[in-house]
Each structure stands twice: as C-alpha cells, then as structure tokens.
Amino acid sequence: MPIARAAKRATVRLGAVVLAGALLAACGSGSGDSSDTSDSAGGKVTLNVDLFGSFGFKEAGLYDEYQKLHPNVKIKQSDTQDEADYWKSLQTRLAGGGGLADVQGVEVGRIASVTQQQSDKFQDLKEFGADKLKGEFAEAKWSAATTKDGKVLGLGTDVGPEAMCYRTDLFKQAGLPTDREELAKKWSTWDGYLELGKEYKKKAPAKSAWLDSVGSLYGIMIGQEEERYYDASGELIYEKNPAVKTAWDTSVKAAEADLSAKLDQWSPQWNQAFAAGSFATIPCPAWMLGYIKGQAGDGGQGKWDIAKLPGGAGNWGGSYLSIPRAAKHKKEAYELIEWLTAPEQQAKVFQKQGNFPSSTGAIEKIADAKDDYFSGAPIGQIFGDAAKESPVQVLGVHDQNVMQQLTNALSEVERKGVSSEKAWETAKKGVANVIG
C-alpha cells in the first residue's frame, strides 16, 4: 500500500516533468513547424496512413518494425475496402484541403488523374531526395507517377501481375485435372478457359460456378493490353479499340454460357462467396492473394492453387504512396514511405500478402517464394514471369471510371440477360455521363 502510494506519487511527478518539458518545447519552437507541437505527449509524431483494399503493411508487421526503429513515430492506419469509396472521400478532402492523412494511397488507375489534374495538391517527393530512388523501381512504375514537368508524386508499392487462382477441391469434384502446369496448358487461350468451364459446369458441385463474375474476367483480360481506354495522346479511344472489344466479347460469351456466379466484385455477397465455394476460378492479380486469404479464411488453406493466366501475361492494378500538400508531417511521412517501398519491405509484404513488388531489388529477392495457402504454388516464379512479360500500359485520367461503367454494363448481360449490343449502348451512355 505505501509502496503503491509512493509509486503513484513518483508517476505524478514524472508526468508533471514530462508535461512541463513538452510545454517548454512547444513554446520554444515558435516558428510553427507543426511536427513539433501537434502531438505533445513526449514529442511523439503520429503519422496517419490512409489506404484502401489490402496493402498488407500491417499484416506483414511493417508498422511495428518501423515504430521500433523510430521510437518517436506512431503509425495510425485507416483502411477502406472499396477503392471507389476511398477515392471519393480523398477527393472531397483534397478539395476542402483538410482532414488529409500524412500518407495517402493512390491506385494506378488514378495516378494519371493525380499527375495531370492535381499535381498542385500533392507533394513533390524530389524535395526530399526521391530522385536517388529512380533506378530501384521498374521504369513504367516510376514514370507513371512523374508529371510532365518532372515532379515525382508517389512511390510505387506494388504492381499487379496476373494469374488464375482456382479451387483444387472443386476441380477434383468436377473431375478436372488440378495440376497447375497441366491446367496452364489446357487454358493457354481464353477459349480454352471457357471450354474447360463448360466441362466443369457439367459435373460441378451444386451451387458452384466456374467463375466469380464476368467483371473480373473482363478486368483481367483488359490488363493484358497495352492500350485500353486512352491512347498515348490522352484521347478517349475505348469505343474503337479492338482490344476492348475482344475482352468485352469474351466476357459476354462467359455470361451467355452461364459460367459465372453472377456476383458483384467487392460486394458483401462476393466476399461471402470466397468461403462458400460459389466459384471454382477467379482471375487474380497478385494483390488478390491477400484478399482471398482474408475472405476465404483459414478454412481455405491448401484448397487454393495458382496457375498461369490464359492468353498471356498482364497487369491489373498496383498502387502508390503519396503525400498530400496539406499533410502535417511531410518529412516523417516521406521517411516512412521510402522505408515501406524499399526492397526488403516490399519483399516481406509479398511473402505475407502476395502484393507483387514494384522494386526491382525486391523482385530478385522473392524469385523462389512459395505460398502454402495456395498449395505451395511458386508465386515468385508465376508472378515474376508475368511481371516481366506484361505490357507497359497507357494510363488515362478516367481509366478507373470507364472500367467501372463497362463492368457495370457487363453485369447487366450476366445478371439480367440483356443483349450484348444493348449493354454496350448502356456502357457508352455511362461513360459519357462520367466524363461529362
């Protein structure tokens, strides 16, 4: 009891000293560099990191590690699952100029909008010496985040080399081969993939479709193309682009053959379906691995596998970390994102979550990586090959929105049996509405 009281008194005294020190420090800084004053307790800097989907930093234990290395830094992460929702709220805050985190994630489909329309709202990372990192990143990754006048607005976290994820247990039940090499041969083309789907459908377990949604089929196919919705001069060309037409037509074929589970990507139903076995295959960019693990849970361990994608290599997605102009602790934020995107850390995220590194140094490190969750699939090799072979894509300002309108219209074919022509008209109307 007396000991406790003494301890208490000591604590109070210590607290008073710390508080006084903090106050003095606050007075002393005067000039108003907010990083000194805003988080008074013990001079700790709280870095807010605002992300979408699954970047995997927390899961890979990177924040803990960084906080151990930098005891004065505390990292707080907020996360929105749906990128579209995330982008909406980010845009609102950028327009208002408040409530922005120190680090904001940017999806590759939005990076052109950042570099072309909002370069004044994001920090030029060259001011903190980002220049010296140029050689460490894949060329295309780096140049996409660079403005015409040379500002660097984001550091790349990952890229989205594509593959096909599938459920071996469902394949077995339907009497299909489960070996990834054999499957890659069977579905070397998209037609082959659809044919195998029809075979699956004949003997499939009840309530199980071949594919999750034609939206993800379309998404993965369009990722195999270099030129999609915009050409290099920034003109909208999706209407006459044969690549868009091919991806569209194949998706329509899959819908008309009733091969999909008719789910809406990112919807709660879609999430539930991962564990329920509602579909046997899902086109998966590398970052999807973490998502599958999250949704299918421990019960999916060892049931999944990964094979090479039909129709060649492609890239879907991948992200950047940026610092808004209005961020509170820009210098500390830069140090954090430089560390998070360094090869060692990117390699760790890949091993834990599957997000494929955009740093060339990291790619070497993970060449032999395997993933137990996916039946020990050689993910380093599968995604590494895809990353090497995938085309460098032309990015446009409204890439993400155009894609959303097209997949929306495809859902009409898939879920309502609307004809392809009618859905295409809907898509065009939708795109016109978006671009306004």
Binding site: A84, K88, Q91, K207, K416, N433
Partner: protein, 326 residues
C-alpha cells in the same frame, strides 16, 4: 416603475440638450432592449440558418450555373441553364425521378396505413403499454447504416435469410438486388421498418387529443370498434395525418441512405433500378465529381419538394373547407 419613468422622461427632454437625468437614460435603454431583445433571442437560430441554410441554398444555385469539377474546383466555367436543360434529356435523371416516386409510394402508403393501425391498437388499455410504445420507436433509433446493412444481408440472393424462407415454402429465390420491382420493394421495406413506429407514435398522440366522450357516445349508439375508428378516430386525426403525409413526402423525395447502402452501389444497382434522385445527385457530385450538375439536381429536388408540399397543403385545405361547408 419603468412605465412612469418613460412617461416622465419621454416628452420632457428634447434631443441633444445636454446630459439628462440618469433614470431617463436607463429607461431609454430599457425601452430599446425591450424592443430589441426578442430579436436577440431568436438571432442564434437565424444566424445559423443564414450560415448553414440560406447561404448553401443560394450558393448551390450559383454553382448549378457553372461547370465545376471537384478535382479542379478552382476552375469554373459558365454554363447558364445548360446543367438544367441537360437533365431533361438525361435518361438516368428520369429513371431516378421515376424510382423516387415508385419507392416513395411503395414505402409511404403501407407505412402510414400500418402506423395508423398500430396506433389504434396501442390506444387501447394494454398491459405494459409504455414498454410497447417505447419499443415501437426502437427501429427509428437505429442508424440507417446499421439497419440497411442488416437488411442487405437478409435480402442477399445466395445466402439471405429471406430467400431461404422463400425456398422453404417452395418458391425460387428472388434476386433482390437486380430486379427492378424486387429491389424497390426491398429498399421500401427498410424505410417502412424504420419509420412505421415513429409515425404510429405521432398518430397515438393525435388520438389522445380526441375527446373521450365522442367514443362513449359512439359506443352508446352501438358503433363497433371499427366504425368508431372510421367515424371518430379518422376525422379527428385529419390534421395529424396531413402532417405525416407531408413529412413522409419530403422524406421519400430525399431518400438516400437506404438505396446507397443496400448494395453499396452509388448508381443504385447495375441498371440504376433503384437509384433515387438523392442518390443520383450524390453519384454526379461525389462519384463523378461534377459538382455543377449535382447542384442543379439539388435545386430540382428542392423545387420538387416545395411543389409536392404545396399540392399536399392545397388538397388538405380544400378538404377542410368542404368539411366546414357541410
């Protein structure tokens, strides 16, 4: 005291003739205060209204005449009334207007009818009626987001409880998200669930102001409970009913949270099948970042609500006049 002071000080001292007696000045001050104080008391509301009500309203009107994009909100391009005229040829605008109307009818009519019935039952002497009365207000106390998310699960196509129940009876599962009628019924259900209790309590309050003697008299004349309801309760409740109809109309026109969260889709389903005007405005403003267009939709909604409420009031007044003439 102040009265006599005014009487003395008022006329006796012409303006500007040096310092008057102290009590005279105090009286003048008091007089001004008495005149001004009511304004001071209501000032907080009106200041807030000017800042957060009138100013946004006018600013929205101003913005609706320009092309403004959220990403480049500094650059405004004059469009005149083009944002409005574009709406008339915009198919999605008409779809959302129609949806707002159909969902409004689907939700308001059953909701008010059920509320009326509930209130009538609650008006009887029941055991534990305070508890029951509080309980029916509970859905209203739930947040829209929470309620909608739960309902979205219930209405799920593959794993939803409702489809499971339908399956037990032997019907095919319904795709509550995709079908136009189905999705609108689903959204209306959420609205009905949330607001029925609230309206029932308003009706109950109205019923309790109906003199008990009227019921006694009706009972003496041998009127059944149903007849009492038709001939005593309904006429007595008319002003309350008109009030709830107007409030529900405004609510239905602004319906937003339920359709937005039902599937998490800002376009109100893949073919806009349950997109309401409020949601369409949100999609234009915060989905596509066309602030000018969103502002135009907001104003159209505002005018629409004013017209609807006006029509409601007109009908109500004509009925009242008819009653008086009878």
């Amino acid at each position: 005291m102040s009265l006599t002071a005014t009487a003395k000080a008022g006329p006796s001292r012409p303006a500007g003739t040096g310092p008057g007696p102290d009590d005279g000045r105090a009286a003048a001050l008091r007089r001004t205060w008495r005149k001004a104080s009511p304004y001071a008391y209501i000032a907080p509301f009106f200041t807030l209204f000017l800042a957060f009500g009138l100013f946004p309203l006018l600013y929205t009107a101003f913005v609706s005449l320009y092309r403004v994009e959220l990403q480049t909100s500094g650059e405004m391009e004059w469009r005149g009334i083009a944002n409005y005229t574009a709406l008339f040829t915009d198919e999605y605008f008409w779809i959302s207007l129609r949806n707002t109307f159909t969902i409004g009818v689907l939700s308001t009519v059953p909701q008010l009818a059920m509320a009326l019935g509930l209130a009538h039952l609650l008006n009887y002497k029941l055991r534990g009626r305070t508890f029951i009365r509080t309980a029916i207000l509970l859905p209203y106390a739930t947040s829209v987001a929470a309620a909608t998310l739960v309902f979205a699960q219930l209405f799920g196509r593959d794993f939803g409880l409702i489809n499971y129940a339908i399956g037990l009876v032997g019907f095919d599962p319904v795709d509550w998200q995709t079908g136009t009628v189905a999705s609108q019924i689903a959204v209306s259900t959420i609205v009905i669930w949330r607001w029925t209790g609230y309206n029932a309590l308003i009706y109950l309050a109205g019923m309790q102001s109906i003199p008990h003697e009227l019921y006694e008299a009706a009972e003496m004349d041998g009127a059944s409970r149903w007849r009492q309801f038709i001939h005593v309760t309904l006429p007595g409740l008319r002003p309350t009913i008109i009030f709830t109809v107007i409030i529900s109309t405004i609510g239905a026109t602004q319906l937003f949270g339920e359709p937005l969260l039902f599937e998490g889709s800002i376009s109100g389903g893949i073919s806009h099948q349950y997109q309401t005007l409020g949601l369409y405005m949100y999609e234009q403003g915060w989905g596509f970042f066309h602030l000018g267009r969103a502002a135009a939709i907001a104003w159209v909604m505002f005018v629409l609500i004013v017209v609807l409420v006006g029509v409601n009031a007109l009908i109500a007044r004509r009925r009242a006049r008819k009653e008086a003439g009878r």
